[in-house]
Amino acid sequence: MTHRVVVTGVGVVAPNGVGKEAFWQALITGLSGVHSIRRFDPSRLATRIAGEISDLDPLNYFDPHELKKVDRSNILAVAASEDAIRDAGLDLARENGERMGSSIGNAVCGIEYAQKESEVIYGKGPRWGSPYLAIAFFPCGSNGLLSIRFKMKGPVLTFCNGNTSGTDAIGMAYRMIRGGKADVMLAGGTEAPLIPLFVGSLARDGWLSRRNDAPEKASRPFDRQADGMVLGEGSGMLVLEEYAHAKTRGARLYGEISGYSSVNSAFDIFTPEPDGLGIVRTMKEALKESQLTPQDVDWVNSQGFSIPAFDQMETRCIGSVFAGAGEGPRVSAISSWIGNSIGAMGGIQAAASALALEHSVFPPQDNLEDPHPDHPVRLVGRAAEEGKVNVVVQNSYCFMGKNSSLVFRRIV
């Protein structure tokens, strides 16, 4: 027997807003989170812009002596998770911790902490090294901190799949609840990749936009003038719950996760598969698992790299899945507002999926000034649209041929 899985809490720490409300208001009113980098001096880098989080005080989440032990990605995960638990109205004292777990996507691990420690041991010597490095740079660090903080003693998992990490973490959490292994799972992603080496080398290799003079214009998926992606940081976490568990405690239900699929293209490290069979397959299989047809889909919450070859592949795939499905679903990429936060992206996209269902609003898409004519899909413009949002397909894909899709639907 399989269990139904519902979303009962949403937590977000994103470049355009900290907290679920701030994030949603920024998204639907069209506030960009992409600005000049302030965390370090980027003046010698080819790309000097990113989706940075500036209005988060780590001391709201950690004591000063605890802060020395954690990477920034851990802080973002804790902040988003507290937001999600509060939003879900979960009374942790009344929950059975053994039936609660967490599942987090994180693509680059605690790279900021690791780089700092590297400077310490090569500069001052090994005995100055921090005893906390191993937990701060292991990808499992955020999960450990969360399990202790919320007394979660069930399945605790971290997925490191590049851009699909967050979507996969949610998909696997869905499978754990579906299979009866847990009643409540915190699921999403976290990432803090903004260090000079990472930004600098990606920029040098031509992956990042160099629109340094107009940061808000830089992330432009599906636009003909796109010149590369914008890196971002953040965390998006959902509270997923077994349906009867959520009903019993009278929780608010944003919607249901009804399907997940993940496949590999096994084509090339960087180049997207020309026919995009991977992402076509994940959309189709996730819909099949949901017992839905392409006609049922209202919004495609797309990855949107802001790299023309990738964006064209994605829209070609969406077009192929929804060919013959009337006008087809609306499509937009929230990365146009916040950049691409790699392992966190799927978690933040999922927050938008849940909130779109709740508010019956299609999140808008920034910087579509010169849409590529090859995009055979209905892209949402710069203004949010109200309308029936009953079914959302969320797509993630990345280097190394990874593709994943989730289906969110209104409870029926």
Partner: protein
């Protein structure tokens, strides 16, 4: 739809005591020590200067040359083990429909061997001297990505990172996916090449490692009273998991059945085990419940046995809590005594050991056992391999952040059960459920 049964049909190993399943198994039975002075870099400034390195590692000849310069050592070991496992299983991905062949790899640290060199150059951000697209060589995502790409597998490709239990959780996800019908075949395993200055020092700084630098071959001593920390090691290992139906249909040799998986979290401390051992014991219970077998059927327990003072004390306590009087009838063994702790691949090396033990009905020893510890008073098969008769084994892994992940492996075909006849297909789930 009833859940599908999952079997192990291929083994691939790159371990400090041997490359390939035969060398690995022979090394374990003989108690061949693989711990020695670190040779991969000058370790003289560090408080621990010994480790278990894989000597003479050569990447599998089928890995295209174009990839090798970018691939971290960990990923080369992982892909090599994957090729071995697929060959051992008699599979040829190029001749099959691979759309439901997944890859699930565990990795605890990320590919530090590649990226920490680059940190030293990172202070020149304008002109990073790192080679073009350096990140794909160490991105954790590449750990499974290279396997899917190079072997051409088009099911899912996932990397699970849960500290030292990573490869067991990767195996658990693969198990779930085959059971639930999402995959037919999955390569499941882990890989790690953590013998680097930064990684070594991170463990030195938390005093987790043995400092028996003068006597490396006796440094890893699980269950011995004088254990003083773990030995860092490297290696990659992969098993082929397959639905029973799929394996039977293609006439595959079936080594063992993966019966159950259980995972819990202590919610106690980031690195220290919870001294009460309750969540560790619960992981054992969950794995046995999942496998639908009573505890009395577990004959051998492949311990996490990391050789840290706290681990084995808590692990022994948890075994007693979970197994009661049966704990004294089981054999415990700690293979880290000879090969050290390979972090993200440690669990899958135990799975391979457990599979080979079931097939050969032999238990490799816990080496370096000299001084009994009253808190570790179960039979740990000290120093000499033993013949034994058993039809089910358990593996246990404990990971940083407080993870416990256990599995149950069953011999295949299953032995004759009371009241039932010999049946090569084994009892159906319904029948098994009635028995318990």
């Amino acid at each position: 739809m009833s859940e599908r049964r999952v079997v192990i049909t291929g083994l691939g190993v790159v371990a400090p005591n041997g490359i390939g399943k035969d060398a690995f198994w022979k090394g374990l039975l003989e108690g061949k020590n693989a711990v020695g002075p670190i040779t991969r870099f000058d370790a003289s400034p560090y408080s621990t200067r010994i480790a278990a390195e894989v000597k003479d590692f050569q990447a599998h000849p089928k890995i295209p040359q174009e990839h090798l310069p970018h691939m971290d050592r960990a990923y080369q070991m992982g892909v090599t083990a994957a090729f071995q496992a697929v060959e051992d299983a008699g599979l040829d991905p190029s001749q099959a429909d691979v759309s439901r062949w997944g890859t699930y790899m565990g990795l605890a640290v990320a590919a530090v061997d590649s990226y920490e060199r680059d940190f030293q150059w990172g202070s020149e951000p304008g002109q990073p001297r790192v080679h073009k697209n350096w990140y794909h060589g160490w991105f954790p995502s590449a750990c499974s990505g290279y396997i899917s790409l190079i072997l051409g597998l088009r099911g899912t490709s996932q990397v699970v990172s849960t500290g030292c239990s990573s490869s067991i959780d990767a195996l658990g996800m693969a198990f779930t996916a085959i059971r639930g019908g999402w995959e037919d075949i999955a390569l499941a395993g882990g890989t790690e090449a953590p013998i680097t200055p930064l990684c070594l020092n991170s463990f030195c700084a938390m005093r987790a490692l043995s400092t028996r630098n003068e006597d490396p071959s006796h440094a890893s001593r699980p269950f011995d009273k004088n254990r003083d920390g773990f030995i860092l090691a490297e290696g990659g290992a992969v098993v082929v998991l397959e639905s029973l139906d799929h394996a039977v249909a293609r006439g595959a040799q079936i080594y063992a059945e993966l019966g159950g998986y259980g995972t819990t979290s202590n919610a106690y401390h980031m690195t220290a085990p919870d001294p009460c051992g309750d969540q560790t014991a619960r992981a054992f219970h969950l794995a046995m419940e999942d496998a639908r077998i009573p505890k009395e059927e577990i004959g051998v327990f492949f311990a996490h046995g990391s050789s840290t003072p706290l681990n084995e004390t808590v692990e022994t306590l948890a075994v007693k809590k979970a197994f009661g009087v049966h704990a004294r009838k089981m054999l415990l063994t700690g293979i880290k005594s000879t090969i050290g702790h390979t972090l993200g691949s440690a669990g899958i090396l135990q799975i391979i050991t457990g599979t080979l033990a079931l097939m050969h009905q032999k238990v490799p020893p816990t080496m370096n056992y000299e001084v009994p510890d009253p808190t570790c008073d179960l039979d740990c098969v000290p120093n000499v391999a033993r013949d034994a008769s058993f039809k089910a084994v358990m593996t246990n892994t404990a990971g940083f952040s407080g993870k416990n992940s256990a599995t149950v492996l069953l011999s295949f075909p299953p032995p004759i059960r009371e009241g039932g006849g010999a049946c090569s297909e084994g009892p159906s789930h319904e029948e098994t459920r009635l028995q318990h």
